[in-house]
């Protein structure tokens, strides 16, 4: 079987009986077996469950019950989304034995559409990080260069798609965790508008910023998946029912007259010249297709990172309080009393980056500091949102880089958290504003590493960025990493 198929292409072949669901699932499971010792994209692989489900889904397709584009197509789920009965660790020691009794709404919707969950992907511990190196279960490697990080925190999902271990995956994005690894791994990912996809069953990092979204080989797959997982959920009060959720209708190669804003502040100091060139070339490509480009000052860009780290850490410090050794997960072996049990369990169960953010978040929420930090960060968040609202009065789409650089070497940023935080400069403000963003490959640097292009839209206008991304994608076909090409051939 051709592992380079997109999810939608594979879905068609399954529908046309060219490939059976079991065949497809087996091919990807074998692909994982062959590549996982290199890539480490997965924490859990459910071979038995996936094959069993493949047979069931095949029957439903044959009966005509399942007719959607994703029926029978395998998928990987980031390990911070609950799947009933399946280990869900958040890449943390503290949830090393946690099997939920319920399934995240987004995953449930995929299952209802006939998706086959083949496994749970690696990530930065509790989604805190931009490299997937903070995982308790080891770093994931970038299929484009095994000595490099895949980005993060959805690095496992991005690498798994890039290495062709799955046709598509779900990730989550709190400050760039879908878009940045998509960029580093040369795949496409969407962070939807806040509220577009239910967060029920997503183990929270920064609740007011978290969104689930797809990672896949192309824009068509992403739009198709998003169409399935979106919608108001009675179990998540922050989810909303909005019009304009027919994303696949925006898969149109036409940007004539589309107004694209290019924030000058996104092309200043710190941006790798090769990344800058590729992104500007992408802009020119869209211009050549009829889009109208204009540079503008977005402003407030330098405040996005401090505001983001204060808000996300504050929420995380509270969200992660429930991991205490009392009800589930890891509990320290020896302790004197309750307080000592809490302390030892959490000291032993959480990694360094998680502890750093819990401490930061607890500090900014403590009395006497709340107004100076947390409230100020919330005001900054509101101002950033306003700045985007103003920009979207003039532009349909905002275009810029996903990250200042291409994929870093393993270990390069781990010892310098500030450097890692600064790498989030182009992504975090999108979460603060709650707007949608798409990341797709737009070129390669001199090392042959993929460069990501980011397109941003106004609230609930994913369709504009899908249309712009799809139009751009038509000018340059999907490129597979050498690793996948070689391994794909060997395996075939």
């Amino acid at each position: 079987m051709d592992l380079s198929l997109t999810a939608v292409e594979l879905g068609k072949k399954i529908k046309n009986k060219e490939i059976s669901v079991v065949e497809a699932v087996t091919a990807y499971l074998d692909s994982m077996d062959a590549k996982e010792k290199d890539i480490n994209a997965f924490i859990t692989i459910d071979r038995e469950g996936a094959l069993k489900r493949a047979e069931k889904v095949q029957k439903l397709i044959d009966e005509g019950t399942l007719t959607g584009p994703l029926a029978g197509v395998p998928v990987a789920i980031k390990d911070n989304m609950c799947v009933d009965g399946m280990l869900t660790t958040c890449s943390s020691k503290i949830l090393g034995n946690f099997k939920p009794t319920y399934t995240a709404t987004a995953v449930e919707k995929l299952e209802a559409a006939g998706a086959i969950i083949v496994g749970k992907t690696n990530m930065d511990e509790f989604a805190m990080g931009s490299t997937t190196e903070t995982s308790y279960y080891g770093a994931t490697k970038n299929p484009w260069d095994l000595s490099r990080v895949p980005g993060g925190s959805s690095g496992g999902s991005a690498a798994a798609v890039s290495a062709e271990e799955v046709p598509y995956a779900l990730g989550s994005d709190t400050g760039g965790s879908i878009r940045q690894p998509a960029g580093f791994c040369g795949v496409t990912g969407i962070k939807p508008t806040y509220g577009r996809v239910s967060r029920y069953g997503l183990i929270a990092y920064g609740s007011s910023l978290d969104q689930i979204g797809p990672l896949a080989k192309d824009v068509t797959d992403c739009a198709t998946v998003l169409e399935v997982i979106c919608g108001k959920d009675d179990k998540d009060s922050t989810s909303v029912e909005e019009l304009g959720a027919d994303f696949t209708s925006a898969l149109v190669d036409d940007v004539k007259g589309m107004k694209i804003g290019i924030p000058k502040d996104y092309f200043g100091e710190g941006l790798d010249p090769e990344v800058k060139e590729a992104v500007m070339t992408a802009a020119k490509t869209l211009e050549a297709k009829g889009a109208i480009l204009e540079e503008f000052d977005l402003s407030l860009v330098e405040y996005a990172i401090p505001a983001y780290y204060i808000i996300a850490s504050a929420e995380a410090s509270s969200n992660l309080e429930r991991f205490d050794g009392v009800k589930y997960g890891y509990r320290t072996e020896q302790f004197r009393d309750l307080h000592n049990m809490y302390k030892k369990t959490r000291s032993e169960g959480f990694g360094a980056e998680v502890k750093r953010r819990i401490m930061l978040g607890s500090f900014v929420l403590s009395s006497g500091y709340y107004d100076a930090y947390y409230m100020k960060a919330l005001r900054t968040k509101a101002m950033i949102k306003k700045a985007f609202d103003r920009a979207f009065e003039k532009y349909d789409v905002i275009l810029g880089p996903v990250a200042p650089t291409t994929a870093l070497k393993l270990g390069e940023s781990l010892n310098d958290p500030i450097k890692m935080y600064l790498g989030d400069i182009y992504t975090v403000s999108v979460n603060l504003a709650g707007i949608p963003g798409i990341s797709l490959p737009c070129g390669y640097d001199s090392k042959g590493l993929p460069i990501g292009l980011q397109l941003l839209g106004k609230h609930f206008d994913e369709k504009s960025i899908i249309r712009a991304a799809f139009s751009f994608e038509q000018t340059r076909p999907y490129k597979r990493p050498e690793y996948a090409v070689e391994r794909g051939q060997k395996h075939a």
Partner: protein
């Protein structure tokens, strides 16, 4: 020599709202139930679960706020109160700090004929915690999350009370108001109403408040009164001996009648309150408010006036009957079945009160139905049973809510009105008690009472007492 001190008291009252389901999930709020059977991923704080607000909680909180003359915060929010304890599954409690749903209210109380307004600082909504149970087998603790997520409101008063009597009157006012609203049953002993007392003392005439303490674990009105008295004395003794009152939280032990310090202000935790990002702001429209306002019931004061005016009940009776919603409900349901209001009131005021006291029950515990009380009154009205039998039957109604018609029939308790049968029995009693007959004839009027009693006894209490009297006088 003692200076003259004034006690300054403010109350924090927690009330469990009588909603069918919990505040943030669909689990039942029913009391009891095997441990952890009324639970789900949300109320056990499982990872990835999210709270969704139960609108009925907001309705009830607004109703209480309106009844206590509060301003309703039409754009209010929930905040997280962070603290680690195993009964709190998320290790934060969802509560309201920055924008509580009700503010600036007041209620009127009356003590010894004097009326006074007590200010309400705020009312906020929050979730209850689970319950820790000590397990003797393992010497460990077990936790039951059935109560976790049961909706609460906390009513915070201003420091406007000056005596235990005022506190009792205030609590009683809150309790009846909330019961009338059907917002809670307000049972202190079952924990559906709990009060923490903030108390300080100061010299009479002083402008500044003294340092206050907060007293917890007060499970009855009596315990509250005792704790207030005890704490007032403790603080005065400290001041008199030149010491200072320490701002702290104390726990009342009602069996030993003393309190001990739980934690001082220095140990006070920083709860790191912040708005809960999982819940959206609650926007309360004018229409929503008006809808609740229109559905507010008749409250105690109005009811009491109506009972006096429409049914001619004395003020004292009207006051008792309206003192709890349960009594008022039974009263009104019974008269709706065409029973005479004064007779219904009489049954409730005398026999019901007596039985409640004997059984150490509260009016809320009453289980008998208006229908059976109405039937009983009908039986006495038609002289089918006499008053002695009626009391006996009422005890059965009170205990088991039996149908008095059937019961009287089955037990053969109908009054004997058959003159022939009565005359025969009276004749026999006269024959058996010559001494009493002699006494009566010698002018001892009281002796006839004994003879009536003997006749009733012989007829197992079922004789028509009027007829017995008449026949006796005739034969003597």
């Amino acid at each position: 020599m003692h200076k003259a001190y004034e006690t300054v008291i403010g109350l924090e009252v927690h009330v469990e709202l009588a909603t069918k389901t919990k505040i943030f999930c669909g689990c039942s709020t029913e009391f009891g139930g095997a441990p952890n059977t009324h639970t789900c991923p949300v109320c056990t704080g499982m990872p990835g679960s999210l709270p969704v607000l139960n609108k009925d909680v907001v309705n009830k909180a607004i109703a209480v706020g309106l009844a206590t003359n509060c301003t309703i915060t039409q754009n209010c929010k929930f905040d997280r109160k962070n603290y680690f304890y195993p009964d709190n599954p998320q290790n934060y409690q969802i509560s309201q700090l920055y924008y509580p749903i009700c503010r600036d209210g007041k209620v009127e109380i009356e003590v010894n004929g004097e009326k006074k307004w007590i200010g309400i600082h705020e009312i906020h909504m929050e979730e209850d915690a689970g319950k820790l149970v000590h397990d003797a087998c393992t010497d460990g603790s077990l936790v039951d999350y059935n109560r976790s997520g049961v909706p609460l409101i906390e009513i915070v008063s201003e420091p406007d009370m000056r005596s235990a009597e005022e506190v009792m009157a205030y609590l009683d006012k809150l309790r009846t108001t909330i019961q009338y609203l059907g917002a809670s049953d307000c049972k202190l002993n079952e924990g559906s109403m709990r009060a923490d007392v903030n108390l300080s003392v100061r010299e009479i005439g002083a402008m500044e408040y003294g340092t206050r303490t907060e007293m917890k674990n007060l499970n009855s009105f009596k315990a509250i009164a005792r704790a207030i008295e005890n704490e007032r004395e403790r603080q005065i003794a400290l001041l008199e001996s030149g010491q200072e009152v320490v701002q702290e939280t104390r726990r009342w032990d009602d069996t030993k009648e003393y309190s001990y310090a739980m934690r001082s202000k220095e140990d006070a935790q920083d709860y790191r309150y912040f708005p809960d990002p999982d819940l959206v702001p609650i926007i309360i429209s004018d229409e929503w408010l008006e809808d609740i306002r229109a559905k507010q019931p008749e409250f105690r004061e109005e009811k009491k006036a109506r009972y006096q005016k429409d049914f001619g009940l004395p003020e004292y009776d009207a006051d008792i009957l309206t003192g709890t919603k349960k009594l008022a409900d039974i009263f009104e349901e019974t008269i709706a079945l065409d029973a005479n209001p004064k007779k219904v009131s009489n049954w409730l005021m005398v026999e019901t009160m007596r039985l409640l006291k004997e059984n150490e029950m509260e009016p809320e515990d009453i289980r008998f139905s208006a229908k059976n009380l109405a039937k009983l009154i009908q039986l006495t009205d038609s002289q089918a049973i006499n008053s002695t039998v009626a009391k006996e039957v009422f005890e059965k109604i009170f205990a088991e809510d039996i149908d008095p018609d059937k019961y009287v029939e089955e037990k053969g308790l109908k009054t004997v009105n058959d003159e022939g049968a009565l005359r025969a029995t009276v004749e026999q009693v006269i024959a058996e008690n010559p001494q009493s007959v002699e006494d009566y004839r010698n002018g001892k009027e009281k002796a006839i009472g004994f003879l009536v009693g003997q006749t009733m006894k012989a007829m197992k209490g079922k004789a028509n007492p009027g007829m017995v009297n008449q026949i006796l006088k005739e034969l003597l």
